[in-house]
């Protein structure tokens, strides 16, 4: 795939599947249910149509993903996105990093944090609370996980409560899952008319 992107960006690319998406016209009732396709909602991305090849997992995964990223209370939305970006940088999922860095920027109305993350990677010099979150998320994302007691104590020292730390663990871990699907089952390519 000649147009495949290899550098981090906040411009969300197009995702080109390496595996055949299911044909919506031939989808089974179970697939339509998992895809939440209704007469008024027939827009489904190629990514989700690829995942619909394994309908049982897709059906379990979609509500779980939404709960971890959007449930009320606990860690703020932007900091959950920072956890997602930490994982996506370690796993070099260009597409995931673009989606979640751009959401972080929208939520915080800043660009500097993500500019530093993309330029400096895991060593990015960030403000103390951001740094503790990003460092924990990126170290948890290694295999085997490299996060340790000092990283956990740094989260507490930065003022995170137990409920917030739990949400960070969940969002970073969730992207250990999402990155492994998005980055292996397809390619990020520049949208037409760009780059």
């Amino acid at each position: 795939m000649s147009g495949t992107l290899h550098a981090f960006t906040t411009e969300v690319p197009h995702w080109q599947p390496r595996v055949k998406p299911i044909d919506l016209a031939q989808a089974s009732p179970a697939q339509l249910d998992a895809l939440k396709v209704t007469p008024s909602n027939t827009k489904v991305s190629d990514y989700v149509l690829v995942l619909a090849n394994d309908v049982e997992t897709l059906k379990a995964r979609t509500p779980l993903f939404n709960a971890i990223m959007y449930n009320r209370g606990g860690l703020g939305r932007a900091e959950r996105e920072l956890g997602a970006v930490g994982a996506s940088v370690v796993n070099r999922c260009i597409y995931c990093a673009a989606v979640h860095a751009s959401r972080y920027n929208q939520l915080t109305k800043t660009q500097e944090t993500m500019q530093r993350v993309f330029a400096e990677g895991e060593a990015a010099a960030l403000e103390p609370r951001e740094a503790a979150i990003f460092r924990f998320a990126s170290k948890l994302s290694k295999t085997p996980s490299a996060a340790d007691g000092d990283d956990m104590r740094a989260l507490r020292a930065a003022g995170l409560t137990d409920a917030e730390i739990l949400d960070l663990i969940l969002s970073a871990a969730l992207f250990g899952w999402a990155n492994r699907l998005m980055h292996t089952l397809g390619d990020p390519v520049a949208k037409e008319g760009e780059g």
Binding site: M1, R18, V19, K20, V50, L51, N53, D54, E56, T57, K59, A60, R61, P63, L64, A67, I68, N71, G73, G74, V90, N91, R92, C93, L140, S141, T143, P144, S145, A147, D148, G149, D151, M152, R153, R156, D162, A163, I165, L166, D167, L168, I169, L170, A172, A173, L174, G176, W177, A178, N179, R180, L181, H183, T184, L185, D187
Partner: protein, 170 residues
Amino acid sequence: MDASVLPEDDVIARLAGVAPGGAVAAALAGRADILAMTREAAAASLTPQEPGGLSHGERAALAVRIARLHREDDLAAHYAELVARAGATGATAALADPAFKGEGDTRLAALLAYADLVTLAPKDAVAGDIEKLKAAGLGDADVVRLAELVAFLAYQIRVVKGLKLMQATA
């Protein structure tokens, strides 16, 4: 009414050694919906009703292997019980050993190469790694089933690891 009582069948809370009635248990009780959905995702990944070309025994053995690659021995032991329950033996049970690379079996060799690479270094995965699975005879649906299994375990193992750290520093 104690909101910090966690379900006994929650593998994550049990393997992370979450202390009943403690601060970590209380935080988890606040996300009981997520724990429940995680258990459903585990069932969909490990013991689906329609396993397709990846049997329950192979899934369980791959889970042992992936837990071992993460050096999460408790989780590896948990999945070893699932291997036994699935009645897996021979080459299927051998998938649990990271030293076994599927010698002499094209399909198993391809499965293991993908599982190991995407567990240890997903950043290094390229289009050719999916092509190798297809060349070894996996259809599109089985490629997705394998990818979901490997990916779900990466999530579950990190939640256990994170909770252990939380518990150790609580």
